[in-house]
Amino acid sequence: MSSQLPILLFLVPFVTAVAMPILCAKRRSWCQPLTTGAVSVMVVLSIINLRVVLSEGPIEYAFGGWGAPLGIAWLDDPLAAVMALAMTAVALLSLIYGRVVVPSNLDRSVPYYTLILLFTAALIGIVFAADLFNVFVFLEVAALTGYALVGAGGGKALVYAFRYLLLGSFGATLYLLGVSYLYAAVGTLNMVDLAARLPELMTSTAVVTGLVFVFLGLSIKMALIPLHGWLPGAYANAPQSVAPLLASTITKVSLVVWVRIEFSIIAPGVEVSHIPVLVLLEDIGALVAVIGGALALVQTNIKRMFAYGGIGHIGLILIGVSLGNSTALTGGLFYLINDAVMQATLFMVAGAVLHYHGAHSLDDLKGVSSRSPWLTGALVVVAVSMVGLPPTGGFFGKWNIVLGALEAQHYLAVFAVLVSTLLTLGYFLRLFSCWFHQPATIESEQLEVAVPLRVSLGLASVAMIVLGFMSDSIVRVLFDSLTSGGS
């Protein structure tokens, strides 16, 4: 039974989503509990999955009985198990939070909850897939449900959802083009098989073109500057209840896909017409980290600020995974998991502030601190984690990346991490100066924040601190996963 865990993790949300129009067409109030229940089952299953994978080794799941490389295979290694747990946990937090801030027209809508479940199922598919084309299919399912979820906000959200759709579909098409080139050159699409055959073919034009197109496609999906144009508009205008879910998952899983491809194919020192590939990626990451932080600093809309902060962090993680030594790689991946939790919390806080205080931009935040102690507490914890101070998880992630950069003697990367941290500190100080500003006239009455909101924010804050304490064991798990050849 435990060998069927990967497909069970996928089937639970998928079957619930598909059965929902039939089950809940007449009883619309069942949708929300059914969705939350399905995602809770997923969290439990992913915890069991993580324990099984850590104790017994990676699970290779061959669909239809056809093993790799003939058939489609899913690889459940420790990295995938950790990512699955992170994604399902973040989804559960967002759903619990979503109960409070969901707009009334969406609360009783069957397609809305179906889309959320399909999105979660697709995320599981992306995380487990060991076949390049399978990744494309699930990436598109997640993207299409994402476009529809962003557009569910109505009004302005529709325009930004359309822009997201154009850019996202174009990115997926580029990815498909790259996969076609790789197939034409190598003849197989299984990642393990590609890792065995590709290194000696790196001088072939078809292979290089394929990899470039795959990187371009995934860059659009993970919003790497300058291909980030869809992200701030989409996240700022998505419905409050799905913004945390979207913001914390889709760019991170695209980055994980790129890490898998990059790690198995591009070893340190590989050069393509005399350009060392990993150094190029690391420089791109450094630029993105600095520019993302700088763009965040000048924003006035709260959600856009957090969105640009997330874009900057993708750059940081790209630096980490492209440095070429295992310290930085595990640091980058650990920071990715932290960033998922942090982005979810940030967007939860932003949505709560909008819901309770009607605050869109920084100026509307005057006097919020005295009226909402829970929101203030969560924001302080997230700020500490984003800037990177101990004992939160953000510190250990950045610390490992900097250690890896020093080890590889790439001082530009160290400089970029430091500048990005300073810029993050800058915009959080700006946020705090507005948040804690006490207007003289308004007397401070406590605003009752609903219980599910407190549960979500509390769990998220606790998670960030716990990740910091458990950083050593998580980093060791990731290190074992990547060096045992399982990716």
Binding site: Q4, L11, F14, V15, Y61, G64, G65
Partner: protein, 148 residues
């Protein structure tokens, strides 16, 4: 709201063409084992015939009752697909491993045949429902669409 087409020629031809199109759709669905075809294309042809019925006869006409009724089966096709895969899971193999499809009285080749047929029927019905629902939602004015 789509009105019935007022030309006698269009309506008469519609009565002839739509059943033929549906028959062709089923043919393509079944023939996918031996040539081009399969679930998705069959579903698209079925959807096209149903959309044609809506376009020619209007949404509420008795002649296009199937297109209106079929929207209630939203998700049924995928349930069939997941159900067949799940039966294979229960039977002892991996998802969609038709050798483990425990239907009594079938040898291995027939098990594969029946399993693939069922999944293709599931895919075709779901694609048909999706096509019709896209067409109906694009044509609605301001009122809520089906179970919205």
């Amino acid at each position: 709201m789509i009105q019935a087409h007022d030309s006698v020629i269009v309506r008469t031809l519609g009565r002839i063409v739509i059943p033929v199109a549906q028959l062709f759709g089923f043919y393509v669905l079944v023939f996918g084992q031996h040539g081009p075809g399969g679930g998705f294309v069959g579903g698209v042809i079925l959807a096209a015939s149903l959309i044609l019925a809506i376009l020619i006869f209007g949404r509420d006409a008795p002649d296009s009752w199937l297109a209106a009724k079929v929207l209630h089966g939203d998700g049924l096709g995928l349930l069939i697909f997941a159900g067949v895969g799940g039966l294979c899971l229960i039977g002892g193999g991996q998802f969609l491993n038709y050798t483990h499809l425990q239907i009594p009285g079938l040898d291995e080749a027939s098990r594969h045949y029946v399993g693939i047929m069922l999944t293709q029927i599931g895919v075709a019905s779901d694609v048909a429902v999706t096509g019709v629902s896209i067409a109906i939602s694009l044509s609605a004015d301001d009122e809520d669409v089906s179970h919205g």
